[in-house]
């Protein structure tokens, strides 16, 4: 007798991944996981906005600092939150003199990485690897 394997989700994988990147939890909502989608949206958005409130930096690639490539990738992982903040805010470099600057950066980078993990999770749900 074989173990029960979850059936692959309906819908389009590309759409699920795109929605998952655009806004936290949207890919999960598309795949029918509406309850967890709301919680993911709340957690990742809270982390992102706390990062801005703590004067964190939305990184851009700097030629002299190769590690900023990774930080920029992490920031762009937050999808529309990141793009919207870059478009709407005058200062996206944060405030280096703020006592909470490092926390702000940690919150922003973590929000982006969380959203990238949610994309992978949406992929697993779509393929049936996760129920």
């Amino acid at each position: 007798m074989s173990a029960a394997v979850p059936a692959p989700a309906r819908g389009n994988l590309f759409v699920a991944l795109l929605l998952a990147w655009l806004f936290p939890g949207l890919g999960h909502a598309y795949l029918g996981k509406r309850g967890t989608a709301l919680l993911y949206a709340g957690i990742v958005s809270a982390a992102f906005f706390l990062g801005l409130a703590y004067h964190g930096k939305l990184y851009v690639r700097e030629a002299d600092h190769p590690l900023t490539i990774l930080a920029t990738f992490a920031c762009y992982g937050a999808g529309l939150l990141n793009i919207g903040a870059r478009l709407l805010m005058e200062n996206t470099a944060g405030n280096l003199l703020s006592p909470t600057f490092e926390y702000g950066c940690a919150f922003l980078l973590t929000a982006g990485m969380m959203n990238l993990l949610l994309m992978l999770d949406a992929y697993d749900i779509y393929t049936g690897a996760k129920g």
């Binding site: 967890t36 919680l39 957690i43 006592p99 909470t100 926390y103 919150f107 969380m114 993990l117 129920g131």
Partner: protein, 60 residues
């Protein structure tokens, strides 16, 4: 926004713990247990690291 390092640390730990509890565990009870485990581990770890670093000279 209060410039309180401890509050920022607690918020960071709570959000991270909540995220991974949702992602890696299923079932309400299991998720709460994992959330508390990660939260307490992160907070205790950060405070322990702070104590270990206390004798080190301050940043110039």
């Amino acid at each position: 926004m209060p410039q309180d390092h401890f509050l920022a640390m607690v918020l960071y730990a709570a959000l991270t713990a909540g995220f991974f509890a949702l992602l890696w565990r299923s079932g309400r009870r299991e998720r709460w247990r994992y959330f508390l485990f990660v939260l307490i581990t992160m907070l205790a770890g950060a405070i322990a690291a702070g104590w270990v670093m206390y004798p080190l000279p301050p940043h110039p």
